[in-house]
């Protein structure tokens, strides 16, 4: 039949598509093993070496190529991502909780929140820089940049939680309320454990988005560089394979993060199953 030919064609196309997605990353990974310090960021590989990885950690003899200023930047980016993750998840859960009831003006509030992920980073970044300038506030990554990161990640957390609450059975909570359990305690003991997988996803979203966020930070963070800003700084000068080596390492770090998330998710799903079995017994 005609359809199987189409399926074959589309399958082949999808394979090409994935090559398109991964090709540059593979090339980048290969070139990160270029010899140093004379080897450039292009083919052919003169000699395979881990020089640029050592260069990142300052383990090579000093050369004309300055090491990437990543140490402090990494700490800042991680701290910023954790702060953003906590605040935006809390905001996301509370706002989504409010949206479980119909209320007047819900449309306006919904779009106000979603606006945060719609408005491009350059614009809010510029706006925040102007506000800070006018009010005479110093720009810092932990201040002006942090609030903008939350503006960006909070809508994602909110949407994730909204989707979770849409599939949530409220009768469990009502049972608790009718037994006289306070709302706060009901939330802690019943609602929260049930929505925990969603909360984890919201946290993952917020963390990775903030960790990688660049355009908002560029305007709002002032003098101290975060990791993306440090990488951006290398754009204007000559690129060396140390940036590539760094890319490989950050990718590995992200996979570790993703692995942690998968393990936590698996644990919480298993626990939910165990509780369900106990109930049935």
């Amino acid at each position: 039949m005609n359809a199987s030919g189409i399926k074959l064609g589309l399958g082949f196309y999808t394979a090409l598509f994935i090559v398109f997605l991964y090709g540059p990353l593979v090339v980048l990974a290969i070139l990160s093993f270029q010899t140093g310090p004379e080897g450039g960021p292009q083919f052919p590989i003169i000699e395979w070496s881990t020089y640029w990885y050592k260069h990142l950690f300052g383990l090579t003899p000093p050369s004309r190529i300055a090491p990437l200023p990543i140490e402090q930047a990494l700490v800042r980016s991680l701290a910023l991502a954790v702060m953003t993750m906590i605040v935006s998840t809390v905001l996301g859960v509370t706002a989504a909780q409010a949206f479980r009831r119909k209320f007047r003006g819900s449309g306006v509030v919904f779009y106000l929140i979603v606006l945060g992920m719609m408005v491009p980073g350059v614009l809010v970044g510029l706006g925040m820089a102007l506000v800070a300038n006018t009010l005479g506030i110093d720009r810092h990554w932990w201040g002006t940049a942090f609030v903008l990161h939350v503006v960006y990640t909070f809508p994602f957390a909110f949407l994730v939680m909204l989707a979770i609450f849409n599939r949530f059975d409220p009768s469990v909570e009502e049972a608790a309320w009718s037994l006289g359990v306070t709302p706060a305690r009901t939330f802690r003991k019943i609602t929260f454990p049930l929505i925990f997988p969603g909360v984890l996803s919201a946290m993952l979203f917020a963390f990775t988005l903030s960790y990688d966020e660049f355009s908002r930070t560029l305007f709002a963070s002032g003098r101290d560089l975060t990791l993306p800003l440090a990488i951006y700084g290398t754009f204007s000068v000559e690129v060396h394979p140390n940036v590539f080596a760094f890319g490989v390492l950050t990718t590995l770090f992200s996979f570790a993060l993703l692995g942690t998330y998968a393990v936590l998710m698996g644990l919480s799903v298993r626990r939910a199953k165990r509780v369900a079995i106990q109930e049935e017994a």
Binding site: L28, F110, Y232
Partner: protein, 301 residues
């Protein structure tokens, strides 16, 4: 579920309040989020609009209201050119992400019947996102450069004798880079919508003798439209506010409003930057509003 409630030490109070008082509680739950957005999202944007009317002199800016920055912006070839380039690149990227992404989404969402396989394929598409965006952009340099991977391969198989130079540091390289980075935002929503199509509808059409193209045109394409619109919104918002890809891949040859905002460097000419920002905001707002008329985002959740 009673277990969780009764196992507490405290005796249960007799008065069983039904649901807690509602309006107060909703307002209380919403207040922090709404306040945050008003202070740190709406206020900066309003500030940007306000500053665009300030008086800009060479070195400083004064809060005296004037239209001069706007007039300068719209009578300057540089700024208008940048605006036009942005719109052109945005449209090209929008079309190319759709063309590149749709067939892949079609395969993942509709043709792969195995749930695990289709999830695995989608995850495969998303994994690159855990590498920094800037590094993914930078990765195109060794791909497209004069001594890059693509030129090398093409020379090896004898398709070309001279390396193609327009591949890097041109508008083309920016478009290739942006397409690769953003096409996943098309694939995801479209595959999601396609996955929800009831297979029996397509079977019925097949039984009635419709060919693949007919089915595609009358069933698959219309039902996937919400996914296309959501994807288009994502891609538009990102492509219109973009400047990093062009900074990395155009060799600073390309002027986008994003670049106007950024290039002044340490002490930007705030009023001009604000005008460019407001123009971009209006453009973006118009695009998103037009797309939202086609699809109600809230219903698709």
């Amino acid at each position: 579920m009673t277990m969780a409630a009764t196992s507490h030490d405290k005796p249960v109070e007799t008065a069983a309040p039904s649901t807690p008082r509602q309006p107060n509680r909703t307002a209380l739950l919403l207040a922090p989020g709404v306040l945050w957005m008003l202070l740190f999202l709406v206020a900066p944007i309003l500030m940007m609009v306000y500053v665009s009317f300030w008086t800009q002199t060479t070195f400083k800016i004064e809060p005296t209201l004037t239209l001069s920055s706007w007039i300068t912006f719209f009578s300057s070839d540089t700024y208008l050119g940048a605006l036009w380039t942005t719109i052109r690149i945005w449209l090209i990227v929008l079309v190319s992400t759709l063309l590149v992404g749709y067939p892949a989404a079609l395969f993942v969402g509709l043709f792969v019947k195995n749930k695990t396989l289709s999830t695995a394929l989608l995850v495969l598409c998303v994994i690159p996102f855990w590498t920094s965006f800037l590094i993914r952009v930078l990765a195109w340099r060794p791909m497209l450069g004069k001594e890059g991977a693509i030129n090398m391969i093409l020379m090896k198989i004898g398709l070309i004798t001279q390396p193609i130079e327009v591949l890097l540091f041109s508008e083309l390289s920016v478009i290739i880079g942006m397409t690769q980075i953003y096409c996943v935002f098309m694939v995801g929503p479209i595959a999601f919508m396609l996955g929800r199509i009831d297979g029996s509808v397509i079977e019925a059409a097949q039984d009635l003798g419709a060919g693949f193209w007919r089915i595609f045109r009358t069933i698959i394409l219309p039902l996937s439209m919400p996914g296309v619109v959501v994807g288009a919104i994502f891609v538009s918002v990102m492509a219109l506010g973009e400047f990093a890809t062009s900074a990395a891949l155009s060799g600073r040859k390309l002027n986008l409003p994003g670049n106007i905002l950024v290039t002044p460097g340490r002490s930007p000419r705030w009023a001009f930057a604000a005008v460019a920002g407001v123009v971009l905001t209006i453009l973006m707002g118009a695009v998103v509003a037009a797309m939202l008329r086609v699809v109600d985002l809230r219903k698709e959740l």
